[in-house]
Structures are given as C-alpha cells and as structure tokens.
Symmetry: C3
Subunit: 433 residues, 3 copies
C-alpha cells in the first residue's frame, strides 16, 4: 500500500520526559528538546507521557505538552507525536489515555495545531488498536478536527501486537474504523522482552531479529513506517551504529533516540557516506582499508601476500593460496573486498543508468576499481556489476530517503550541503525523478 503521510521515511524517534519531578520547571527537558534544530532535531519528536515520565507526574505531563507545544510547536522543524498512556490489559490506563488525548487535542489549548499525531504504547491485538483509533475519532469529532487527521503510531511490546501487525493490510480501510491514520510501527524491546519472558545471562536485551523483520514486513504491506526501539547504552556509539546497519538490512530505517547525540547518529546513519571506501574480509573480520595517495592499503596482520617465484602466496588467516600472477592475485582479492559507495558514487551510477535507459539499453555494467596494497604488493582490481531496472530501483532507497529528508527538513540543508557539497546535494535531488 502507498504511504499516505507527509513523511515517507522516519530516521529518528526522539522521546523526552513530559514532566520531571524536583526541577523548578518540570517541563525543562521538553522545552530544551523543542528547541533542537538541524541534525540534532529528530524526524519525529515524542513528548513521552508514558514510561519516561513517573506515573504520578503524568497529568502534569499532559499539561506540559500543551504548554510547551503551544509555545514552541510552530517553530519546531519536524513532526510532533506525543506518547500517551495505554495498556491492553488495563481499562483504567486506557481511560486515562483518553482523557489526556481529549485535553491535549482541544484547539483552545493551542497545541493540537502543531501536533501530527499520537503514539499509543502497549497495544494488544487488533481489537485493542481499534479502541485507540476510536478514541482518536471521538476526540477529532468533539474538537472539530477532520476525522482521521491525527496520525496514530503504536509501540509493539508483546506477542499479540506482533501478530496483530499481520492483519493491518486487511483491517485498514474497513468502514467501521479509521486505521488509515496509522503511521509508525515502533518496537519496544524492553517491554517485549518482559512479555516474552526472555532471559539473557547478562540481562542485556535479546536481539529479536524476527520481531524486527515482522515489523518491517508489516510496514511494507500496510504502507507504514518501521522504527526500532531504544538502544540503552548511550555511551556505546559503535553498538548503536551496528544496530542501525542491521536494522537497515531489514528495511527498518528508523530508530528510537534517547539523546540529541543519538539523534545525530541516527539522522546520518541511513544516508550514504560522503566518501566511499573499500572493505576487506580479513578471515571473518570486515575491515576498512586505508587510502593513501589513491592506493587502498590493508594494515592488519591477518592477510599477507608474499612473492614466490613468478607468482604470489596469499595468506588469509591460516589459509594459503598460491597464484601464478597478478591477474590471479587480483581474482582472489576480488573475493575478499567490497566497496561502500558514497552519495556521489550512487548518484553517478543512477545518472549513468538513466542515460543508458534513455538510449534504449535495459542493463549496463557498473565498474568498481581500485589499487589495493597488502604489505609491499600492489594489485589493481576491478569488478563489474550488472544494473538493470530492478537493481536500479533497489539501490535507489538511500536517495529516495535523502530526498524525503531534504524536502521535509530545511533546517538540515546546511548540514547536508556541508557533508556532501552543494553540487552532490543538487544532483541527488534531481536523480530518479
């Protein structure tokens, strides 16, 4: 199904507590979040009146949402989706959520004009999702907002809601609901781990690859957007990046961010790098090669090349291979290296393919070439990859994402131009249209 909301991609889902006890201004964190701009500002900002806020502070939190958004919402450069309280097993919590919704959405309070939708946590099966949808419909009607105008996003935190995602394609569009308002499917791994009763020796969260796949698949099938849950270890930037790379290979391009630092990382992660680089598989370890004067050098000790008569001996870990000449060595190395294209490389390739298509060709070979140095030996390698229409479209995703970002986030234009250069940005906005 087509994605119907303004944003086709969400890189970042940044939560802020709505009310913190013991501060002069309990809305201090929200107030500072509301003023983030550029790479520090998320695609979706989530004033969090649920888990990030103590239960006894949530009525105050609802009021803070109104106060801060009515003041800062108009200038905020991205979407705003407050999270309210909800629980599939507690009518009490659902009723509280309904009251907060009604209050926050009252146009006289001046906030709803800047709010794009709401986030509903702890949903259960599809009937539970419909209850939240119905409350939103009642709120919209009561306040003369258009029916379906408020987006609804859910946090998937139990097996029942994981299963419910499979039904969205058939449930959305039924005349007795307004589930077309659905926007993001977000994983909540802490509570999911609790519900699934999973145990790990160290207490760290399980990786839940199947949950993330199923979320991404449901987003694809129902025209929604998949977002992964929080990465707790804020200190561990490398780990956060690895998780995002893993998510992206599953089609889950968005992730929760807990700090502006994480927002910056997550805003950049799905965008191609400014400069391309080569990787080598060093006996199971994927290592970046170092560029020195146009030569890509391997500096580790897991791979070595020795001259031997006319040929070479290539050693990778404990495996030795004899090769007769430079050509054979290049062939062996080709199996070990791969290239990470830059934004510029991708735009180049797309332009090249588009020109070829215009000229009536259905498929062309794209060449990646480099000089690789291992120890004292330098080898020229070169690889062709066939691009046809399907390859072109599959590889287009980072560009489409970039275009969505550029169109929707003028506050990031300077950062993007600095990262990629004005020229690359301009060409990236043209290609594929």
């Amino acid at each position: 199904m087509e994605r119907k909301h303004a944003r086709k991609f969400v890189r970042t889902f940044f939560t802020s507590p709505t009310a913190v006890e013991g501060e002069d201004d309990s809305a201090k964190m929200m107030r500072s979040a509301a003023q983030l701009r550029g790479m520090q500002a998320p695609d979706v900002w989530v004033p969090d009146n649920e888990d990030a806020t103590a239960p006894n502070m949530r009525d105050e939190g609802a009021q803070n949402i109104i106060d801060v958004i009515s003041e800062h919402g108009e200038d905020f450069p991205a979407e705003i989706h407050p999270r309210i309280v909800w629980h599939r097993d507690s009518p009490d919590t659902r009723h509280q959520g309904f009251k907060h919704l009604m209050e926050i959405a009252d146009p006289e309070n001046g906030a709803i004009q800047h709010i794009d939708g709401f986030v509903i946590p702890e949903v259960g099966d599809i009937d539970d999702w419909k209850k939240a949808d119905e409350f939103l419909t009642i709120v919209e009607n009561e306040h003369d907002l258009g029916e379906g105008s408020l987006a609804m996003s859910v946090i998937v935190e139990c097996g029942a809601s994981e299963l419910a995602m499979e039904e969205l394609r058939t449930e959305i569009g039924r005349p007795s609901n307004n589930l077309e308002r659905l926007f993001m499917l977000v994983n909540g791994e802490v509570d999911y781990t609790k519900s699934m009763r999973a145990i790990t020796p160290t207490g760290e969260l399980p990786p839940w690859p199947e949950l993330r796949h199923n979320t991404s698949r449901a987003a694809d099938a129902a025209g929604l957007i998949a977002v992964d849950g929080p990465y707790d270890d804020i200190r561990d930037v490398e780990g956060y990046r690895e998780r995002m790379t893993d998510n992206q290979a599953k089609g889950q391009l968005g992730i929760w961010s807990l700090t502006p630092g994480q927002v910056v990382e997550a805003n950049k992660s799905p965008l191609p790098p400014a400069a391309g680089y080569w990787l080598i598989d060093a006996a199971g370890d994927e290592v970046e090669l170092d560029e020195e004067d146009g030569v890509w050098a391997y500096k580790g000790d897991r791979i070595s090349v020795e001259e031997s008569g006319d040929g070479y001996v290539l050693t990778v870990g404990t495996d030795e291979t004899e090769v007769a000449d430079d050509d054979e060595l290049a062939q062996e190395l080709l199996d070990l290296v791969s290239y990470v294209p830059s934004m510029n490389d991708i735009v180049d390739s797309m332009e090249e393919f588009e020109a070829a298509k215009e000229a009536g060709k259905g498929a062309i070979a794209m060449t990646q070439a480099a000089t690789v140095r291992i120890g004292d030996v330098e080898v020229d390698i070169s690889r062709d990859r066939m691009w046809d229409e399907a390859t072109y479209q599959a590889l287009q995703t980072p560009i489409t994402l970039f275009q969505d970002v550029y169109d929707n986030r003028p506050d990031q234009h300077d950062d993007l131009a600095e990262l990629y250069s004005e020229d690359v940005v301009e060409r990236a906005m043209e290609v594929g249209n």
Copy 2:
C-alpha cells in the same frame, strides 16, 4: 492472555517410553522415571506412548501408563502429561489415540486422578487441534471429569501447525471448543525437519530459529508455555547448555529432556548462577574471567596490554589501541566486558529499586564494578545501568520463574537452598511481590 494453569513456567519436559520390548517388566523405564525426585525430576513428566515406544507396544504402553501412574502418581513431585498417538494425516492413528485417552482417563483405573493433561503430537492446522480438544471433552464428559479439566499440549512438527499457533489467541474461548485447556506448545524438530524436507550436510538438525521464535510468540499471545524439542547428543552437555541459553533469549524457557542428567541441566539452566562472574569479548570469543583474590584475570592470549610511555597499548586480536592513561584504558575495557549477575545480585538490585520507588524515585543507576587484570596490568572498571520500572520488570523473569519453581516443587527446596543459601532463597521469595 493470562496463564491459567498451575505452573506458569515449565523448565523440563522429560519423556519416558511407556513399554519397552524384551524387558521382564516392559514398564521398567516409566517405573524408574516415576520415582525421580529433586533436580532429577522434571517439571513435566511425559510417559511417551508415541515415538519413544514401538508401534506394536502402544496398547501395552497405555496399560503401563495406568499401572505406573496409579501406583506412583500420587507421590510424583511434578506434573504428569502422557503423550498419546495422533497424526493430522491419519484418522486411524487419531482413533487409536482417542481409545487410549478414554481408557487412561477412566477414574476406575486410578491413574487420571494424578494426570494433569495429555500431549498431542503431530497436530496440523487449527481444525486438527480442535479434533483432539473435542475428544478430550468427550472423554471428560464420559468419565464425569470437569469439562476442560484435562490440559492439552501439542507438539508442533510441521509448517501447518507452526501457522496454526498464530490463530490461538482468536480461537481460544470460542463457545464451540474448550481450547482454554491448552498448556504447552512444544517443538518437535526431528519431525519438523522431515516435514519441511530440510537437508544438512552432516544430517544434524537445522537450528530453526524462526520456529522457536514463533512458538514463543504464540505462547506469549495466548497465555501458554513454550518448550523446545529434544537435544539428541546426550553426551554433549555444553551444546545442550548453549541451546538453552539461545532458547531463553527467545523466551522459550522450557526444553525436552531425554535423560535424568539432561533434566538436572535443564532444571538449573534458566535460574541465575549462585555466583556472578565477568565475561570478556576476546576478539569475537566470549570468555569467562578468572577470579583471584577479588581480581578478575584474563588468561588467554587474544588480548594484551603493554605499558607505553605514560599510557598503554591495548591489543585485541589484531587491533591495537593506544590510550593515554588508566581512565582511557578502563573505558576501552568497558566495551569488552560484561557481567553475569548471581541470584543474590539480582535480588539486591530488585530490592534497591523497590526501595527507591517507595521513596518516590522512578529510575536509579545500578553500578557494576570490578578490578580486571590483563597480563600484569590491573584496571578498575565501573559501569552504571539505569533501571526504571520497565527494566525492573524485564529483568524480573528469572526471579518469577524461581518463585514458580519454589512454590510448586517442594522436593527441590533442599537443592535450591544448597545452591543459593537459605538467606538468598528467602529474599528471592519475597522480592517483587
């Protein structure tokens, strides 16, 4: 959905052949299993009148079930769920299963009073599950047992039953069935591999991670208990443990056991260790550090630390990192180590969080600290982890499991007190309530 059966957790599912040919007493194995106690006794004992028993011995097996359980059932310290014959593709087998059910469940035979339910193998789609449920209803009615009083557990051994698990949440509770009797969802990987027609070069079973995830998810969504299938290589204790750790990270906390030795391993596996310990990631290999006088020493040769001027060079595998001082070294090591908390540690942390909550705090930092020695260099490391209500609840699972075990298995009280000390056991029974 809430779990409605007496046991909320099942660690062990131990099968015994019901009738072995060529023995003086064909029920010898059952008779010895019935007398297991303590850690050797499983949470669920399954007299197995299906695959473990030769087809021509199964009528005798049904009679042995009656004989042995009527004699030993009252004193057996855990639940008893015989497995009868069943097959989605064979009405003949299903009819035989029905006759065995009717006979075993006859109160005049004196066994059903000690039987908690039955295990139905080789089920197909949900309509096939309903056939087994209906037979149980007829048997209950015929013998004046309460409708729905006999639990039903199934072995998932084909794609159709894997898919059927997704429907349980909507099917359980329909007026024309008694599927509320469902208790365990058990994987049967040998027959599943046959049905899926999978091939491995060595003939060992594929790992089937998606099946195990889906079983665990269905158990969560429908208030049931997920149990993994048999681990054939009885000699390979290490492999059995690794499989259980992997299962636990998926929320599948129970596993099949083929011998009393496996029962002991599986009864202990999901419980926290008696003493905590540190792990280090030695270039991809997770290794336990050795404690010596309060210092945690790494003894391998994949990680080394050399002094270098004022600072150090840390080598992990082939990666070298220079650090300026002890603090930077500690930061680098923090990325490599993790701590496996003991039962006592977990109880401590939970008590601490409960006290903080009482005092009005929503989140507190838990500190893990140690002195780590690599070669001759000793470094103090320390890490804080934020605990909020959600963390607390997600990490509570091993304690809830322990409490379920303690409440239901008085025969294991001595073993548990010996393992953890009386004091820790007592506090573990108090915390979280």
Copy 3:
C-alpha cells in the same frame, strides 16, 4: 497437504530472456537454453518475459516463447514455465499479462502442449493471486484446456505476498478458485529489497532469512515447492554453494539459476556427495580434513596436539586442554569433528535400519568411525548415533529427492551413474520404498 504436481522437488529454476534486442535472432538465448540437456538442463526452465526482457521487447518475447517452445518443447527434458508480466499495483501490466497468456496458451500456436504452467511475478495479497488464477481459468476455458491444468507459480517480492503465503492452506480448495494449480513459491530478493526499502552499505542484497523460512513453511503447509531467488554474482561459485547449503537447512531446496554453470551447481547441490568426508571445527572455522591412506589429517595451524608425559595437550585456537590418554583425546576430538555422509553411506544406513525394523527393532545405533591425524598424533574416534523411525524419515529427504530426479530426468541418468556408480544409483532407487 500432499504435493499434487508431477515434480515433488525442483532444484533449479533457470530463466532466459525471451527477446534480446540487437541480435539477428532475438530468441537466440531461448533457443540455446531449449537445447540444454543433462546436468546443464534445469528442473524448471523459465522463458522470462518479465525483468530479463526489456519492456519494449515483451510482445516479441511472447511470440518467441511460442516459436521456440513449439519447435523445441517436445524434446526438452524438464518442465517449462514461462514468466509473464504482472504487477499487484498495475492493472495495465496485469492486462498485458492476460493477453500474453491467452496467446501463448492457444493450442493452434503449438506451444502450450509443452508448457507445464506459468510464473506470475510481483503478486500482492491473496486477492491478487486469485486474479492471476482467474485469468488462467478463463484461458483454460477459452482454449479447451482442462480447468486447473496449467500450473501457477508466484514470485514473492513484497511484504504483502510474504503474508499471503500464510493463507494458502485455507484458500486452496475453496470452490470459487482454482488455486490447487499452485506449484512453486519463489523468492525475488531484488524487488523484495526494493519493496522493503532495505539498505546495505555495499548495496549487496540482505540475506532475508525470515523470508526464506516463511516461504519454506508455506510450501510445507500448502503442498508446494520453495525456490530461492537469483544469486547475482555469477563468478562467485563458493558463495552460491554456501547460499544453497543455508537454504537447504531451511527446507528451501530449489534455487534460481542465471547461467548453465549455475544450473550444474544447483542440480548437484542438494544431492549427497559421492564420497563422504570429515569436518573439524578449527576455532570457529569448519574445515575439511584431508584423507591420506585412510587417515583423516588436519593440515591447518589452529589445532595442535602435543605429547605431554603420558597424555597430550590439545590446543584449539587459544584454548588448551590436557588429556590423560588416547581415550580422552578421542573424546575431545569427537566434540570437534563431524562426518558428511556420501550417498552410499546414507543408502547403507537406511538399508540397515530397514533390516532392523523388519527384525522388530525400533531403534539402532549407527556408528561413524575414523582415524584422525593432527600433527604427528593419530587417534581413533568413533561415534554412535541412534536412529529411530523419525530419524530415518528426517534423513531420507536427499534420497527422496534423488528418486524424484531419477524418475523425472532420464537425461541425467548417465551423469548420476558416473557420479555415484551404477550400483549406488540402483540401491538408492530401491531404498525407502
């Protein structure tokens, strides 16, 4: 459900462009594919009038399908399933596909007599599958072909069709469709990656393990055949083999082939090897041992054995283990080695089990023994594996596959006899019946 089509297994799904511009004969590639025989000929040949053929050549492609198949179809040694155009989101494309179907299936054109079915790409949810099925029904009716006589296979290239696979078991057999015609479920990972909007740094395809599991599961539940998508890097034979091994462990025994070279690899891959061999786990790396005069030698440097007093020190990677004698050393090595049985080994074991069953035994031990040499030390190792009926059946899959191949592919008889010897082939055709 039972598999109802002539082929119970498909190893190879080989596509050929139907019309290539700029050649004298635009059907040249089809013409050469049609004349493949033996191991170079696939189980299923797919003249591809979709992605492999430029959009403006597809009407000519449809005509080429008719021309080439009417000429060569009768002699082609395997099944023929042309792929037509289709798209869940484009009525225009679906209409074009319908017109091509109607034309190709016209008996007066002389091709349909040799065509077994059609491949429908880019299907969406189950209602979309039904549209294609309905067109086939209309075509069959119009041309007086038996209703349901044309097989239908689909390419799963989006989340919606991945989900649709779960419904097949309940949808097939409904009176208002002819979905019993379904034959293969094929993954199309390039377009799937596009639809899921996945990104990888190098642009290579994500592995999509869950998709492949779900395809295999649906095939099991609905009596169909699971086939994996294309492996683009034609040069990388090793990678293609690894992918097939991974697929086979998921029950996905068929794979797309892009060249006759890939067809040969994929035709052989799921068949047991002609000679068995031992593997050793060399610190995480699975390595083949070299046979020398009946002794299996490890030649790498990750594992070593040193004599030490009466016993030995076994070093694996960085782990040292002291053992007291040959027996203990053998025990340690048993944990590291595994055996890949040959076709002859499997047939032997099955015959042995069948004889034991005849003699009234339900389970027997199968022994695998070898002399292993590490450095200068030779050790005899021996392992028993229990075989019962379930083991027997689960391990029977490669034999059943072989029998299906032998029955359906007389053109491969010579190759198979050369590979395995006449005697082994004969016995493999007898066993298990």
